[in-house]
Structures are given as structure tokens and as C-alpha cells.
Amino acid sequence: MEISEYVNPEGLRIDGRRRKELRKIEIEMGKLEQVDGSALFVEGFTRVMASVCGPKEVENRSKAVEDKAFISVEFLSATFSTRKRTKMSKKDRRVLEICSIIRKTFEPVLQLELFPESEISIFIQVLQADGGVESACINAVTLALIDAGIPMIDFVCSCTGTYLDSFCILDTNFIEETAGGSILIAAILAKSKKVVSTQMKISRLKMENFTELLELVVDGCSRIYDLMEDATRKRTKEQLNSQTALIK
């Protein structure tokens, strides 16, 4: 028995959005002083804090790479972030998965060969999880890396979509994500529009639906990019202003 309609015949989703609408996005950069770069990415009720230290000396010598920098990722989900209080250990499958996604996504984008035998460490903290956590993490990390001033070839923007009840839906929240549809998480390079990474959960999807979904998600990514670019410009302006003030 279908109890819920994820998109009602009036075209509205459970929370009142239309199919192709993003949730409300807020970005704050550089709020932490102890690290080189930090960013808070808020998407609806999903809230992710990312911080970046480095490039610095490698802590664990054995992990050092001769000709380029090494990326370490640490992921932490607050126990209160989900509906049910759960504590994820550091070796939890989900934690390891997300860490490897982040590393694989950013390795080709960062110009690591500029910093041989050094380390760039990324810390991700999920404060609230209401769907689209992986995407929010990627976005937050991009912004934190920019804030830290690490050279990158492009912005990496990510967004989540799902194919549910024969509709493609953009930017899923927790209810939509757990509804049993096929979920697609994509990350793109904003300027070149290249897809850096995609992930599917609960697969089996018609090819034509997949293309439709991918197009929708890529479109969502580029809309998120506009917001991220604005935030970056604002942040840079602030920094410029404070520096010129100092000089004066």
C-alpha cells in the first residue's frame, strides 16, 4: 500500500518543493581560526563543517609520497545528527566509504605535485544529516580547500538526485533518500562541466531514466556552483578588506 506520495499530482514534494528545486543553501567560510581553511555548508537541515590543514609535514612518515602531497581524510558524524542516536566508529564501513570518495574526488583536482612529501589533511564533521550528506561533504571540502588557499584546477560541486515513483527528484532529503528509489550522487568540475565522480545506490535503473537523472543532477550542481562562487568572492573581498585595513 502506497501511503506516501513523494511527488503529489500537484507537483509538490513532501516538504513543498517542486521536483527540480534545491533546498535553501547557506555557506559560511573561514570561521575557524585554528585551521588553514574551513567552511560550513548548510543545505536545508543538512549541515556539514569541513576544515583543512596543510600543506604541512607528513605526520606518519611511512605514508609520505615522494613526488606529491598526500591527502588524509577524517570523517566524523555527530551522534545527534540523525533521528536515532548512533555512534559511528572510525572503522565503520560508511565512514571508510565516504573518506575514500572524498579522497578519490579531490586527488585529480588538487595540484598535489606542487607539494612533494607533504600532507593535506581534511576533517569533515556532520552536525545534522537530513539527506544528501555525501554531496554536502564534497561541497564543504571544496570551499574549505579554497579557503586554505590550496591550488585547485576547478571548483568541485556535488548534488544528489533520486528516481522515485517514476519521477526524477533533485536534492533529496532524508525521507526521499530512504524511500527506496535509485539514488545518484554526482560531482562535477564546475567550469569544464566534467563529471568527476558518480555513485549509485540501490541500482537498476532504465538507461533513459539514468540519463535524465544525470542531467538533472548536473544542472543542480551548476546551480550550487553559482552559490559557492558568490560565497568565495564575498570571503575573498572580506579578506582583502581586512588586509588593506591592516596595512593602513
Binding site: 502506497e2 499530482p9 513543498g16 533521528r83 537530513d130 528509489g181 537498476r204 532504465k206
Partner: protein, 857 residues
């Protein structure tokens, strides 16, 4: 766009979870009428409300919950605004009503509009602490109504309709023009039948009063006089019932009224082989056929044998006499029983008698009503006027004998006499002998052929409306002139040069299977079965697909056919007519001399049938030694091969069961049925059948291999011993018996059961055996063990339906699965999850009591 958020908390299953949901309020939701345009309105929003209308109606939740029949069946309510708050609360309380209202909303002629008031910035209300959700929703509804009143300020009158008097008063205080549905109905001039369709007013209050009375009664148990005013004992509350069931005091089951005796009913409880018997009006206690009820058993020694008496509905006065007689009889019976009990040294005969006796019980409560729409007519001698009222009370006699008479009110008596009408039950109170109901629609004159056919269809719940517009839109634009596109032919294997033939009953319009055979160089044969490619036309999830799934089969009546697919598909584009190129889905085997499969090929093809033969024609060709053309030779080869197949199947233990198939000979001009004759099976019938079975089995194996969880298969469970008890007992008189342990044994024992001088006896026995067996069912492969896939009747380890997609929906699903396994076209996750396939199978069960052509395998 405007954002705002609310936080909702919710608890589930004892664990307190903090559920936080976002809630966006919008500026772009329109009012559904062309009179008002908002800035920034969302473009594709359609505007069904007519601007010429006099007034727009806003309905409250209770109107839709209780007056759904009136809303559905009368066009009186038009230009209606349905609020999202209302829809949400309906969906929570009754999914069925929700589906019905959604159907009305989607009808473009009704001008219904859904206003998403929960997401509109101006009509959203926050809940106040301490306020019940119900009160909050009512406030939201009033807020939306007042928003409409303000927005349409004088341009159009907004009428808020509610039967909740408290809400009505509050709404009036807030300056909304509001009425009850009865006030509104009395203003209507053009729709006299609308009033009849409404459920009676103050029903709920009356019930409340009675319940209060009952409570009082419970307190003063001595007050017996009051008690006697009621005709029926009180039903227990749901809570009491469930407590009783968990303690083992009560049992839950479905009630079946004896069609020959209205005061006798049986209850089948899950987990009990024997059903319980309920006798007498008071013990049946207002349960209607097919309700789910709770029963309490009488002491164990009170076993009752079935009464052989036939009691039908009678007039009220007679009825009482009948009841008295009946009770007397009952007493006698119980006395007899006591005697039996006393007499402990019973002889064998008595023992046998006791076996056919059933445990008696009484009904203590109703768990779920299964009321539907009933067809019938007005009882003529019951027409009397109610004092001072313009309504007349009438008694309605249903066609179905299991259903009690229903009391209805109407003010159009003249229009209803001698008509077949449709009525539903609203309630059945303790002080009323008959249930109360209301009129829904008139079908036509009693005795008219068309009308009575419709009665049959409604009584068996067959969807038989003509196809709606959405469905017809799915048909190709070219209609009959549709041609196969060249690129589609390029994709398929071209078999148009092969000698492909079809053999069907005479006059068959929906030909869905064709055959061909040809000799291969290595001495083997290539045999192909070509099935109409319905899934090419009927794409998953389209309106036509949903409609076909709902109908699930084509239903054949004497003079007409209720099609599953629109005739353009069924009789034309999909049907494999002679000398026309058609798209098919084929199974092609390489068979050796003994008809053993060497290899199998599946794929989409395009064919051109060389001959569409009837069984008779094919038989004649085969038997005529002079005929030596390609077609006849094909039939002969196929016949030879099919003999091997049949033999092998019989060896494995396939049953030759008989269900009498009758054929109506029709007058060719008037389409009146003239005569009934038993359908004669010819040799070529078996020929076609054998290859269809082979195709079905091959396809079943294939889809099970590729979709181990979600293959849609068909199984025939082994027979249940108890269902054969009666048959075996009667056979004892002839010194015969049946062994039902395996199909092979049953088949052997059936062959032996012959009485000399009576050739029909064996056939009769086969018919009775068929009736005693359980029905074959569809299932999803992931829901059962492989050993349970067994098809008892065909003695096949795995089986499905593939060969008749024009008239069975299951076959369409199987076609899609097969296509997906061949990488032709992917299927949606609906067909790849065992849960959803299981859901589909539930719908596919043939509707109760309907004979469906060729349904025997």
C-alpha cells in the same frame, strides 16, 4: 520564492525519535481560476475552475469521507476546491476514499481543483501548543476558505460546505459563507437524485445516543425491558475484540452467508480446517457476507449439522413466523444432539453423521466491513409514506441472495419502481431489522438484457466502463492505418518469409499466438511460437498499462466481451491477422525427431501470418489426404511433434481434467444466443495447447534464471485432502477411490475409475476433481521455495503465462521480464523487486466467481 520552516516532532514504535521536517511555503501557488492571476505564479498550473460558474465550493473533510458516493456519481458538485489539508487527512484515514477522490479530481469534466494550502504563504497556519491536530486542521481549512473568500472578493461566491456544526458556526463567525451539504442540496434544482445519494444526516449523533444508552444498560443490568427494544446484541469494541483474540477467547474469520438459507452462515478462520457454523439472525448479528468478524464458540458439545432447509428473504411478518419455526427446529436439533451425546455407544452411522457436523458459534463483533455496491430493485409492497416527510422509506432487495434487504430513503419513488438500481449500505443499527443505505444510480429496466448483463458485471466487480480519454490518448495517432516503422523492423529478426499459421476458435478476433515449423538440414525441426508483442504498444507506467493492470483479464460474456485492451490493439494492431505484417515476441526451438529440445532462442520478431485457421478448418486440412500444400504439411508435422510432447507430459503425471466448456451458438443477425452446446475438443486443439505449454515453460525457466527474486510465475498447489473428503466419501459407494498424493497417482487412479455402461461417469468424476482442487495462482519467485513452484495440474516444475498478452495482464508482465532478460528493454524496479511483483500478483487473481475462458491451465 519564500522559505520558512517548521519543526514537527513525532514518536514511533515506542522509541521517541526526534523527527525534524522542513516545510517550505510558496508564493507561486495559484487559485485554479482564470479570474485571479498572481504574480510569479508557476506556469504549468492548470485552471480547472470555470470563470462562468456562480459559486466555488470548498468541501470539509467529513463531507468527502462520508458522502463520497454522492460526489462520485452525481455531477451536482462542480467547481470544487479540495484543500491539501483535507486530502492529507483522507489519505491517512482511508486510502480507498483517497483513490476515489483523486479519480474525481482528475476528471476534467468535473472542474475540481486541489489548492495546496499547506504550502501557500498566506494560508499556512502554525499549530498552537495544546491544540489537537484535528482542531489545527479545521483552523487551516477555515483559513484557506477565508483566503478564497477575500481573494475572489465579490467576483464569485465561495461556499464552504461542512457537516460539522461547530466548524460551521466558527466559519460563519469568520465571515465565510458556509452551509451543510443538506442545505446545499436543497438549493439545487437540476439534480433531484443528489439528495437520495447523501448519507442520512445526524447518523453519527444517533449512534452516539445509542451507544450512550447501551452504556447505561450495561450499568443497570436488571433493566431488561430496555434491552428488549433492540433486535440485535451489541457488538464489542475493537479493543475488546483484539484482547479476546489474543487471549484465545474469540476467533477472527471471514463470514460467508449460506445462499440458500439466510439465517445460516459459515466463518472460515485461518489455521482451522473446518469452518464454524452460525445459525439464527441474532447470532449472525448484522454481519454481511464477506465481512471480517470476531466469533465466540458455543460449548464444544453443541455441534450442529447443516440444515437442509431453504429460507429466503420474506416479508417482515412472515419472517417472524419463520424465525419461530426455525427456533423450534433448532431446539429439536439440539435435543437430538443431546440424545446423541447421552447415547455413548453410538453405532458407526451416527459417528459419520457427527463428522459432518460443525462447531457452532456466534458473532461478537465486526472487525472490518466489506460492504460494496449492491444491485437490486425496490420491494413493491413496501411503498408507504412517512408522515409529513417528502422522503419515502423503501426496502431494497439485492440480486445477491446473501445480502440482506436494505432500507433506503428517496423522494423519486416513481422513477425507481421496476428499475434495477445500485445501493450501498451506510450503517446497521441494533434497533433496525435491516441496514440503512442510500441510492447511488439507476441502471435501467428490470429484465432488459443490457441492464441485467451490467448487473452481473457489477455484482462480480468487473471494471467495465469504456476506456477513458487518458487511455485512448496512448493509442497511435494513425489509428487503423498504423504501419510498423522501418527502424523497428530493422531491430527485429525478420520472419515474414516463413510459413506461419494461427489456429483459433472460429470467429476469434484477438489472435495472440502463431506457429511455424520447418525441417532443418540435420534432420531436426525448427518450431516457433510467435506471440503478439503487446509490450511494444503498452509501455510500463502509461495510463493504458495501469488500466490493463486494473482489469487484469478480458472477460467473456455471451453477447459481449469486456476487453482488457482497447479494441484497436486487441482486435487490430496486436492481433496476428492473415497476410499482415505484425510485431511478435517469439520462442523458437530446435527439436529432434522425438520433440526433445536441442536449443531455444527467444527474441523479438516481425512476422506475416500465411493463414488464420479455425480449429475445424485445420482439422479438415490435416485429415484430407489430397491436401499437400505447405500449410497442411506444417500442421501434420506439428501434430506429430505435439503427440510426443503430450505423451511425455502424461508420463510425468499431467492430469487430463475436465471442466465443461460450453459454446453458445448465436443468431448471426440479432446477436441473440440461440443454443448452448458442449464445446468439442478436436485433435488440433491439443496441438496448439502443447506448444503453448512448451513456450510457457521455456519462458518461465528463462525469466527465473535472470530474475531469481522477481520472476512472475504460476503455480498450482497440491490439493488439500479435506477438500476431497466429500468426493472420496461419495466414491466409496462405488468402491472406488482416488490417490491425490501426486499428479501421477491421481492421474492413474482417475484412469481406473470407470463404471461400465456409464461412459459419462469418468468425465463427471474429472469435473468434480477439478472443482475440488485448489486454484492455480500467480506468485513472485522470491516469495517461495523452488520446490513449491510446482504446477500440480501440468506436472511441471516451473510454469508461467506468456502466450496470451492481449487478454491477460500477467502475460504482459512476463513479456517485459523476458525482454529485459534479453537486454531489449529494461524494466522498472517495479518488476525487479519481489515485494512489488507480489503486489501485482494479488491484483491478478481472477475476480470472485468469474469463469474465464481457458483459465484451466
Amino acid at each position: 520564492m519564500h522559505y520558512s520552516k517548521t519543526i514537527l516532532k513525532k514518536t514511533k514504535r515506542g522509541n521517541v525519535l526526534r523527527v525534524v521536517k522542513e516545510h517550505y511555503l510558496r508564493d507561486d501557488i495559484g487559485f485554479g481560476s482564470e479570474l485571479i492571476t498572481q504574480t510569479g505564479e508557476y506556469k504549468p498550473e492548470h485552471k480547472p475552475l470555470l470563470k462562468e460558474a456562480e459559486e466555488y465550493l470548498i468541501l470539509d473533510t467529513d463531507i468527502i469521507m462520508h458522502q463520497m458516493d454522492a460526489i462520485e456519481n452525481s455531477n451536482a458538485l462542480q467547481n470544487v476546491v479540495i484543500l491539501q489539508t483535507v486530502l492529507d487527512s483522507i489519505r491517512l484515514s482511508s486510502i480507498n476514499t483517497y483513490r476515489r477522490i483523486r479519480k474525481v479530481i482528475s476528471d476534467p469534466n468535473r472542474h475540481f481543483f486541489v489548492f495546496s494550502n499547506e504550502h501557500h504563504r498566506l494560508s499556512y497556519v502554525h499549530s498552537i501548543t495544546g491544540e489537537s491536530p484535528f482542531a489545527r486542521n479545521q483552523r487551516a481549512i477555515r483559513k484557506a476558505a477565508s483566503l478564497y473568500t477575500n481573494v475572489f472578493n465579490q467576483k464569485i461566491k465561495i461556499v464552504f460546505i461542512t457537516n460539522d456544526l461547530e466548524n460551521l458556526k466558527k466559519a460563519q463567525d469568520e465571515g465565510i459563507f458556509s452551509e451543510t451539504i443538506y442545505q446545499y442540496a436543497s438549493r439545487l434544482k437540476n439534480y433531484p437524485e443528489f439528495v437520495d445519494m447523501l448519507v442520512e444526516p445526524q447518523k453519527s449523533e444517533k449512534n452516539m445516543n445509542i451507544e450512550k444508552d447501551n452504556k447505561d444498560n450495561k450499568e443497570n443490568k436488571d433493566n431488561k425491558e430496555n434491552q428488549e427494544n433492540f433486535l440485535y446484541p451489541q457488538h464489542l469494541t475493537k479493543k475488546e475484540i483484539f484482547e479476546g483474540i489474543s487471549k484465545g477467547k474469540y476467533y477472527q474469520g471471514t463470514i460467508h452467508i449460506n445462499p440458500n438459507n439466510f439465517y445460516e452462515a459459515f466463518v472460515n478462520c485461518e489455521g482451522y480446517e473446518e469452518s464454524f457454523i452460525i445459525q439464527g439472525r441474532k447470532n449472525i448479528n448484522r454481519a454481511v457476507d464477506r465481512d471480517i468478524v470476531a466469533i465466540e464458540l458455543f460449548p464444544k458439545d453443541q455441534k450442529v449439522s447443516l440444515s437442509s432447509k431453504i429460507i429466503e428473504h420474506t416479508n417482515e411478518e412472515d419472517e417472524d413466523i419463520m424465525i419461530e419455526k426455525y427456533q423450534e427446529k433448532e431446539k429439536e436439533e439440539t435435543e437430538e444432539n443431546l440424545n446423541l451425546n447421552l447415547n455413548k455407544n453410538q453405532n458407526q452411522n451416527n459417528n459419520k453423521n457427527r463428522k459432518s457436523q460443525l462447531q457452532s458459534a456466534k458473532i461478537v463483533g465486526i472487525i472490518k466491513r466489506n460492504w460494496r455496491q449492491y444491485c437490486g430493485s425496490i420491494q413493491l409492497d413496501q411503498v408507504f409514506l412517512k408522515q409529513g416527510g417528502r422522503f419515502e422509506n423503501l426496502l431494497f432487495i439485492p440480486v445477491e441472495k446473501r445480502i440482506p434487504k436494505i432500507r433506503i430513503k428517496t423522494r423519486q419513488v416513481d422513477a425507481l419502481l421496476n428499475k434495477r438500481i445500485v445501493v450501498v449500505i451506510d450503517s446497521w443499527e441494533r434497533n433496525s431489522r435491516y441496514p440503512n443505505g442510500h441510492y447511488i444510480k439507476t441502471l435501467g429496466d428490470i429484465g432488459d438484457k443490457e441492464v441485467e448483463s451490467e448487473v452481473i458485471l457489477i455484482e462480480h466487480e468487473v471494471p467495465h466502463e469504456s476506456f477513458c480519454e487518458d487511455v485512448l490518448k496512448c493509442l497511435p495517432l494513425e489509428q487503423e492505418n498504423w504501419q510498423i516503422p522501418q527502424e523497428e523492423i530493422a531491430k527485429r529478426k525478420d520472419l515474414r518469409n516463413l510459413c506461419i499459421i494461427s489456429i483459433d476458435p472460429p470467429g476469434c478476433k484477438d489472435i495472440d499466438d502463431c506457429l511455424h515449423v520447418r525441417n532443418l538440414d540435420n534432420g531436426n525441426y525448427e518450431v516457433g511460437v510467435h506471440i503478439a508483442d503487446v509490450s511494444y504498444f503498452v509501455k510500463e507506467g502509461t495510463p493504458i498499462d495501469i488500466e490493463a493492470a486494473n482489469r487484469s483479464t478480458t472477460v467473456y460474456l455471451v453477447d459481449r466481451r469486456i476487453n482488457m485492451l482497447p479494441p484497436l490493439f486487441g482486435e487490430n494492431l496486436c492481433s496476428l491477422h492473415q497476410n499482415i505484417d505484425r510485431l511478435t515476441f517469439s520462442v523458437i526451438w530446435e527439436l529432434n525427431e522425438k520433440a526433445e529440445i536441442i536449443q531455444t532462442w527467444f527474441g523479438k520478431t516481425v512476422i506475416c501470418s500465411k493463414a488464420a485457421l479455425s480449429y475445424g478448418e485445420a482439422q479438415l486440412r490435416k485429415d484430407d489426404p489430397k491436401m499437400k500444400d505447405e500449410i497442411t504439411e506444417s500442421i501434420r508435422t506439428l501434430n506429430k511433434l505435439s503427440k510426443y510432447l503430450e505423451e511425455r507430459r502424461k508420463e510425468a503425471g499431467a492430469l487430463t481434467l475436465a471442466s465443461p466448456e460450453v459454446h453458445f451458438s448465436m443468431d448471426s443477425e440479432t446477436q441473440e444466443p440461440l443454443d448452448v452446446e458442449v464445446y468439442q475438443h478436436k485433435e488440433v486443439n491439443h496441438l496448439v495447447e502443447e506448444f503453448m505449454l512448451l513456450a510457457n515453460i521455456s519462458v518461465a525457466e528463462r525469466i527465473f534464471e535472470y530474475f531469481p527474486q522477481s520472476a512472475l510465475l504460476r503455480r498450482h498447489p497440491s490439493p488439500i485432502k479435506s477438500q476431497f473428503d466429500n468426493l472420496l466419501k461419495s466414491l466409496e459407494n462405488f468402491n472406488l477411490s482416488l490417490d491425490i498424493s501426486s499428479p501421477k497417482n491421481l492421474s492413474k487412479s482417475l484412469d481406473k475409475a470407470i463404471i461400465k455402461n456409464n461412459p459419462y461417469f469418468n468425465k463427471l468424476l474429472r469435473i468434480l476433481t477439478t472443482r475440488s482442487m485448489t486454484q492455480a495462482v500467480y506468485f513472485a519467485s522470491g516469495t517461495l521455495d523452488y520446490k513449491d513452484f510446482f504446477h500440480f495440474g501440468l506436472a511441471a516444475p516451473i510454469y508461467t503465462h506468456f502466450t496470451s498478452p492481449i487478454r491477460r495482464y500477467a502475460d504482459v508482465c512476463v513479456h517485459r521480464l523476458l525482454a529485459s532478460s534479453l537486454d531489449i528493454e529494461a524494466v522498472s524496479d517495479k518488476l525487479t523487486r519481489k515485494e512489488s511483483v507480489h503486489e501485482i500478483c494479488k491484483v491478478l487473481v481472477p475476480k470472485y466467481g468469474i469463469e474465464i475462458k481457458n483459465q484451466k491451465c
